[in-house]
Structure formats: structure tokens, C-alpha cells
């Protein structure tokens, strides 16, 4: 038979134990209670028309063939539906007026391409195509020269901070800070820098 004091202590102990246990056992419900995610945050990457337009602005008119082969024709890698009624058939030769800015919007591989999503969260196929395009454009003399000139530089310009910024602004027109990575490279060539900037993903998100 316990004394009154011990009994009170025991009841208090029980009560604490009781509370702790309840909390512990109820915790899984709290943990699993509010964790349902009902949204998805896709990377809102530009579609093939946007990428091609940006690259054409930077690398000039001579880049159009490369862009057509590696970006515009990869409908499902980059997204961007075709417009079914924007047509000029390649077989068509009559009429003097040829409006070429229609051609990139036509559905050259069938009407199914008119239902493609406005943007596709990039997989590695897209990354691969873009890397390849960048390498090709930098390797080609005319397009490389165009880009260098657009940045207001020459192929022998010094790798000063202000020059590096000019190059950076081709792809990131609003960037304020110069990434240290560009300065850390040993003996970089402008080609290397241009190519790396081209391959970086983030300018593709408008």
C-alpha cells in the first residue's frame, strides 16, 4: 500500500507518461497529415522558336541552317507547336513572292506536331542538341565572328573584366555580376568562353 505522497507522485508520473505517449503515438499522423503536394514546378524553358531566335540574334544569319537542323527540327525535344495553316510547300515554286518566315512554323512532319506543348521541361536530349549546336556555331568562322563583333570585341581582345561582361551580356543581357568561373580558367580562348556561355541552361528560361 503506497503512502499518499507516493501515490500523488505516481499519478503525476502516469499523467506525464500518458501525455508523452499520446503525443508520440499521434505524431505519425502529424507527419503524414499535411504533405500532399498538388502542384508541379516545371522549368519554363523557351521553346525551339525562342532558342533559335536568340541564337540567330547572337550568331547571325549564317547560323540559320545549323539552327534548322539541330533546334527547329527537334520538335519534341524543345517543344513549340507548329502552325498547321502557315504553309509554304517546299515543292512550290510558282509565284514570285516567297515569304520565308512562314516556313519555320509549318508542320513538316505532320499535323500531330500542332498539338505539341508550348514548352517541354528539358531532358538530356535537349541538352545534347543544344551543346552540339553551340559547338557547331562556335566552330564555324562566320558565326563566331558575328558573335564576337556583336559583343564589341575582336578575337584578340584582352580577357578583362569589362570584356568578359560584354560577352556575358550576349546571353544574359541583364546580368550584374561577372561569374568568377570565367576568370578562373587558365588561358581561355574566346571560343571556349562563348561556347560555355551558349551551353549554360539558364538563358533559355525567358
Amino acid at each position: 500500500m503506497l503512502s499518499l505522497k507516493k501515490r500523488i507522485l505516481k499519478i503525476q508520473k502516469d499523467r506525464n507518461f500518458f501525455l508523452v505517449m499520446t503525443l508520440l503515438l499521434c505524431s505519425p499522423l502529424a507527419v503524414y497529415g499535411n504533405s500532399k503536394k498538388i502542384y508541379r514546378a516545371d522549368r519554363r524553358m523557351g521553346d525551339r522558336f525562342y532558342i533559335a531566335s536568340r541564337l540567330q540574334r547572337i550568331f547571325g544569319a549564317e547560323s540559320s541552317k545549323t539552327l534548322e537542323e539541330n533546334i527547329l527540327s527537334k520538335v519534341r525535344a524543345f517543344g513549340g507547336a507548329c502552325s498547321p495553316y502557315n504553309v509554304i510547300s517546299e515543292f512550290q515554286k510558282e509565284g514570285k513572292k516567297r515569304i520565308n518566315h512562314h516556313t519555320k512554323y509549318r508542320c513538316y512532319s505532320g499535323l500531330a506536331d500542332s498539338k505539341v506543348e508550348p514548352f517541354i521541361d528539358a531532358g538530356i536530349l535537349r541538352t545534347g542538341h543544344l551543346h552540339k549546336t553551340c559547338d557547331l556555331l562556335v566552330a564555324k568562322q562566320q558565326t563566331y565572328q558575328f558573335a564576337i563583333n556583336l559583343a564589341g570585341l575582336g578575337s584578340n581582345s584582352a580577357k578583362s573584366d569589362s570584356n568578359l561582361k560584354k560577352m556575358l551580356r550576349l546571353f544574359y543581357p541583364h546580368s550584374k555580376k561577372l561569374p568568377l568561373a570565367l576568370k578562373k580558367v587558365k588561358n581561355p580562348s574566346w571560343k571556349l568562353i562563348l561556347s560555355s556561355l551558349c551551353k549554360s541552361d539558364y538563358w533559355q528560361i525567358p
Partner: protein, 595 residues
């Protein structure tokens, strides 16, 4: 607290965590999350335009004593064959494998890679056939697409799989020679918007195409690969700092670089060899075969003049030329060769070799988890002599009908044609020959493919699904076949299936007036299954079964799965009883056409 309390506390805590785990399991079940860490590979081999399966893998007689009503046109072997036209008898032959009656051709051997042959019945070791599925809708394109995306316009099995996959390619669609939107190869639809790579016949070299984005462009002298990669890594680390996109961008870059360094191109010589291997198997399976009861004896074509007794259809209408002579028909032509076996001497199934070759690479090199392969029909048939209906004269005298050429000189010589798998205009003979040889080729490729999967130790984790849109229903006369929309069958092959097994009920003979040819015999029309509340299997059940095996959620959750996976041994066993050939009851047909 004293030690005993602590113990009790601890054990309650443990019990709490156990229950927590249970609750977590139940909750994740409710939320549909897949807790399966090892994702399976899925290969869908669909034979486009629904060729007849009775010479292939359709089990019309699950048991030796199954009720079976022979039909004059559902045949898969010669019981005897003599000289001259119409001097043969066709039969429905079987091959007993594990008590199940497989079609006749399973008795024999198929070419083996590297030379020699192997028994076709090896394919039955891990074989589960699901028959008697009612597709409800008619149409090739819509039903072929449904093979991957069961609810038209909805998500596809390949799409759901791709969302859980971290392999470089979300899904690979091998469209063959068909416009991809018309088949399952174009039905890829993932809830998270992923897209597949589509390889069709406009692509010359599949491996090159897959490798193309990662083939490094000719580097200039002053860009070193290594320096470039280093700069890009550092640059992206800085540009992406604090960005929610950094993780995805970084992982994409790394994987793409791996692909570039790894260089799929480096395995292009290996790929050529693999391609040649399958091409060789296919050639030997189609050309100059010597299959007993099929192509071991001379098969004379049609020769006119020919006479027979007058026949009439059930409704009293007279037979037309195509009804009398249809057994020798292929599309518009009646085949007149002295030996019809010769037409297969240069036969091909376009793109099939590349499709199997790239499929081998894809799973072995872990490039993707899902492949949809759309297979075409037997093509490039070299017909020595043929004539069309315009050149045939049909004269009825009394109770005899006589056929002759209008102008013997108008016989066409040296044509090239192909067998239309959608054999509305191909009779029992041409259908049985083409489909038997097609199956010969496909099973030979499959056996080699499975060998390679076993070698790479991934056969247990791979599900191969061989199917067509639906079975074919014979016409009233031997002029062709029709769509058997109410009788689709699917064959599942996986290392974890102890075969052969067959489930799903069909009618031994159906008197449903909605059929194209009621009361024509056993062809595979779906019948009710007790475990499905006495309803026929619908494609949603098959889709759910496939997803059960793959360990992913089903695009048709309202339709039950027909298989279960043993949690320990991971063996796949049916949830419904063994296949039966069911007697037709009048009350059944009211529900034959659903919404």
C-alpha cells in the same frame, strides 16, 4: 522514470513507429505513390493492322478436351496437299506444351543465332496468354494506340513508367514503316509532360539517331574537351546558385556529358553485328523454310480453268468470284504460281531487324525503361504469276460454275506485293502462310532477345508484351477476314512467369447477331469471366495487369488486374481461373456493345 518505465516507453515507441510505417504504407497507397525502387523494363511488340493470330500465339484450345468448333478458315497446317489447285486440306493443328494446345507451328524449330535451330516451344517457358478481351471500339488506329494508352487521349503505360525512370531517354517509340500517330508508337503520354524519341523508317541508322545529340561536334584546336567541361560546370554552378532549377540543370548536364564521353557511337560496330544477327534470323525464318505441314511440300497456286458446284450464302445470295477462289487471294491478285512457297524467297519484315537490335542495346545499356515496337507485315513477296478479277470469267451452267481466263495473255508476271495483315482480302491459304512465317521470324527474334536479356541478368526485370489490336473473325466465305473487336488477346513474357499459362474465356461458338459472322466457330470472341462479376475482360484489365507487373500505377485503375505478384518470390500468377471455352448463352449478347 525508472528503467521499467523506460522499457515500456521504448516498446510503445517502437510500436508507434511500426504503426507509423503501416500508416505510411496505407497513406502512400492512398496517394498512389509507388514505393517500388527497382523499375522494370517494358517492351511492347505490337503487330500493326491486326494480323490473324491463330497461326501465331492464339490459344484457341487451352486444354486437350476444350470445346472447339472448327471453322473452315481458321487453319494453321496442311493435313494433305496434292497437285493442282484446290487439291489440299487445311486443318487446325496443335502442339501440346504443358497441357496447353499451342498452334501447330510450335511443334517445330526456328533459326538460332549463329547457325542451327532451336525449338520454338522454348518461348512457352515464361509465357502467359490473356485471351477473350473485348476492345469495344472498332478501328485499327484507335485500338493500336489504346495498347499503350488504354483511355483514348489519356496517359500511357510507357508515359507513367517514364515519369519514374531516371534513364537518359524517357521512352523509345519504334514506329517501323507506319505513320507513328496511327499506332501505339505515337500514343506516349506522360503525366509530367515527358516526350519519347520516335524512330521510324525515315531514320536510316537508329543508333546514330540516338547518339546524334551526344556525338561531339568536331572540336576546334583551341577548345579542349576537358577544359570546356570544367568551365561549364563551374559556370553553371555560379549562374544557378539559389535557383530552384539548379538540381535539374546540373543533373541533365552531367548525364548528357556522360553520354557524350561514353559515346554511343563507340558501340556502333557492335550494333552493326547485332543488326546483322537479327536480319539473318529473319531472313532464315521467312525464306526457303521447310516447316512440316506448312512449307515442306509444294503448294500449287490457282490454275484455271476450274469448275466446282454452285454455292450460296446463308441469306441465299450467290457466291462471287472472291468467295469461290478467295483462298488464293492476296489483295487484288489471285496467285497462280506453281509453287507458292517461292513468293517468300525474298520476303522481309521491314525495320524489324533494326527494331530488335536497338531494343537489345536500349535495355542492356540502360538507356530507357520503355520501348514500343510497331511491327509491319510480311512484305516484298515476289509473285511469279497472278491475275486480277477483271481477267476471270465466271459461268454458271446448271449446278456447276466454271472459271476461266478472259485473256490468258493478260496474266501479270513478276509482281511484288506484300501480305496485308488486315486480311480483309486475303483468304485462308495466303493468311495462314504469311502469318505462320511472320510468327516464325518474330519468335526467332524474341528467343534470341530473351537470351541476351538473360545474359545481362535483366530478364526477370523485363516484361515483353506481344499483341495486336484485336483478333480476326473469319468471313462467311473464304474471301477474307474481318475485325474481331470483341476478341483481343495479349501475350505476356517475363522471367517471373512460370509458363505456359493461359487465362481469359472465349466462346466455343458465338451466336451473337452483332458479330460479323455469327455462329462461325471458335475464333476467340471474349466470354464472361466469373471473377470479373461475369463480365468479359476489357483492355483496362490487361493494362492494370501490366502495370501491376511493372510496379507502377495503372492508367485504368477502375479495371482490376488479372495477375498478382508474390511479395517474396516476385512470381507472377493469375488472379482468375484457368482459361475456358464457354458455351454461349442468349442473355450474354445484350452487353456486347458497351458505351
Amino acid at each position: 522514470m525508472d528503467r521499467r518505465d523506460l522499457l515500456k516507453f521504448g516498446s510503445f515507441g517502437a510500436a508507434g513507429f511500426l504503426l507509423e510505417g503501416l500508416a505510411g504504407g496505407i497513406l502512400s497507397e492512398l496517394y498512389g505513390a509507388s514505393t517500388n525502387t527497382s523499375l522494370k523494363n517494358y517492351l511492347l511488340v505490337n503487330l500493326f493492322m491486326a494480323p490473324a493470330r491463330w497461326p501465331m500465339d492464339q490459344i484457341l484450345k487451352p486444354e486437350r478436351n476444350s470445346s472447339f468448333y472448327p471453322n473452315p478458315f481458321i487453319k494453321n497446317k496442311f493435313s494433305n496437299i496434292g497437285a493442282g489447285s484446290f487439291n489440299f486440306e487445311l486443318d487446325y493443328g496443335t502442339s501440346d506444351i504443358g497441357g496447353i494446345q499451342f498452334p501447330h507451328i510450335w511443334n517445330y524449330e526456328v533459326p538460332r543465332a549463329g547457325g542451327g535451330s532451336r525449338p520454338m516451344r522454348e518461348l512457352a517457358d515464361h509465357f502467359l496468354a490473356i485471351r477473350g478481351c473485348n476492345m469495344i471500339l472498332d478501328g485499327h488506329f484507335i485500338n493500336n494506340r489504346r495498347l499503350d494508352a488504354p483511355d483514348p487521349g489519356g496517359v500511357s503505360i510507357s508515359g507513367i513508367l517514364s515519369d519514374l525512370s531516371d534513364r537518359p531517354y524517357s521512352g523509345i517509340s519504334l514506329a517501323g514503316i507506319t505513320p507513328y500517330m496511327n499506332s501505339a508508337a505515337g500514343a506516349f503520354n506522360s503525366p509530367n509532360g515527358k516526350t519519347p524519341v520516335i524512330l521510324g523508317n525515315e531514320v536510316k541508322d537508329y543508333l546514330q539517331y540516338l547518339a546524334n545529340p551526344f556525338s561531339v561536334a568536331a572540336p576546334t584546336k583551341d577548345i579542349s574537351q576537358k577544359a570546356g567541361r570544367e568551365l561549364l560546370t563551374n559556370l553553371m554552378n555560379e549562374l544557378g546558385a539559389n535557383s530552384r532549377y539548379f538540381k535539374t540543370s546540373n543533373s541533365n548536364r552531367k548525364k548528357a556529358e556522360e553520354m557524350m564521353i561514353y559515346g554511343l557511337e563507340k558501340i556502333s560496330t557492335e550494333y552493326s553485328a547485332i543488326f546483322m544477327k537479327y536480319q539473318n534470323l529473319i531472313n532464315r525464318s521467312l525464306r526457303k523454310t521447310n516447316i512440316k505441314g506448312v512449307t515442306d511440300k509444294v503448294i500449287p497456286g490457282l490454275s484455271l480453268p476450274f469448275s466446282t458446284s454452285v454455292k450460296r450464302k446463308e441469306n441465299g445470295n450467290a457466291y462471287k468470284i472472291e468467295d469461290y477462289l478467295g483462298t488464293y487471294r492476296e489483295r487484288d491478285e489471285y496467285l497462280l504460281d506453281n509453287d507458292l512457297r517461292g513468293i517468300f524467297d525474298a520476303a522481309e519484315i521491314y525495320e524489324l531487324a533494326q527494331q530488335f537490335a536497338i531494343s537489345e542495346i536500349i535495355f542492356k545499356e540502360k538507356l530507357s525503361h520503355s520501348i514500343v515496337m510497331t511491327v509491319g507485315g510480311v512484305a516484298n513477296l515476289k509473285v511469279g504469276r497472278a491475275t486480277d478479277e477483271e481477267n476471270i470469267v465466271m459461268k454458271t451452267i446448271g449446278d456447276k460454275v466454271h472459271f476461266s481466263y478472259k485473256d490468258p495473255k493478260a496474266i501479270r508476271k513478276n509482281l511484288v506485293t506484300d501480305h496485308d495483315p488486315d486480311s480483309h482480302e486475303a483468304g485462308s491459304l495466303t493468311t495462314f502462310l504469311s502469318c505462320s512465317l511472320a510468327w516464325n521470324a518474330i519468335s526467332s527474334c524474341l528467343l534470341e532477345y530473351i537470351d541476351q536479356l538473360k545474359k545481362a541478368k535483366i530478364f526477370d526485370d523485363t516484361l515483353i508484351h506481344v499483341t495486336t489490336e484485336f483478333e480476326r473473325e473469319p468471313a462467311e466465305t473464304d474471301s477474307g477476314t474481318h475485325h474481331g473487336v470483341t476478341g483481343h488477346s495479349s501475350t505476356l513474357i517475363c522471367g517471373k512467369i512460370e509458363g505456359p499459362q493461359v487465362i481469359g474465356n472465349i466462346y466455343d461458338i458465338s451466336h451473337d447477331p452483332n458479330d460479323v459472322t455469327p455462329s462461325c466457330g471458335t475464333w476467340g470472341k471474349g466470354a464472361p469471366v466469373a471473377e470479373l462479376d461475369h463480365n468479359e475482360i476489357v483492355y483496362g484489365n490487361i493494362a492494370s495487369s501490366i502495370c501491376k507487373i511493372l510496379g507502377i500505377s495503372s492508367p485504368t485503375p477502375a479495371s482490376k488486374s488479372l495477375v498478382r505478384i508474390d511479395p517474396n518470390s516476385k512470381k507472377i500468377t493469375p488472379l482468375i481461373s484457368k482459361a475456358k471455352n464457354v458455351k454461349f448463352k442468349k442473355t450474354h449478347f445484350k452487353n456486347s456493345k458497351r458505351s
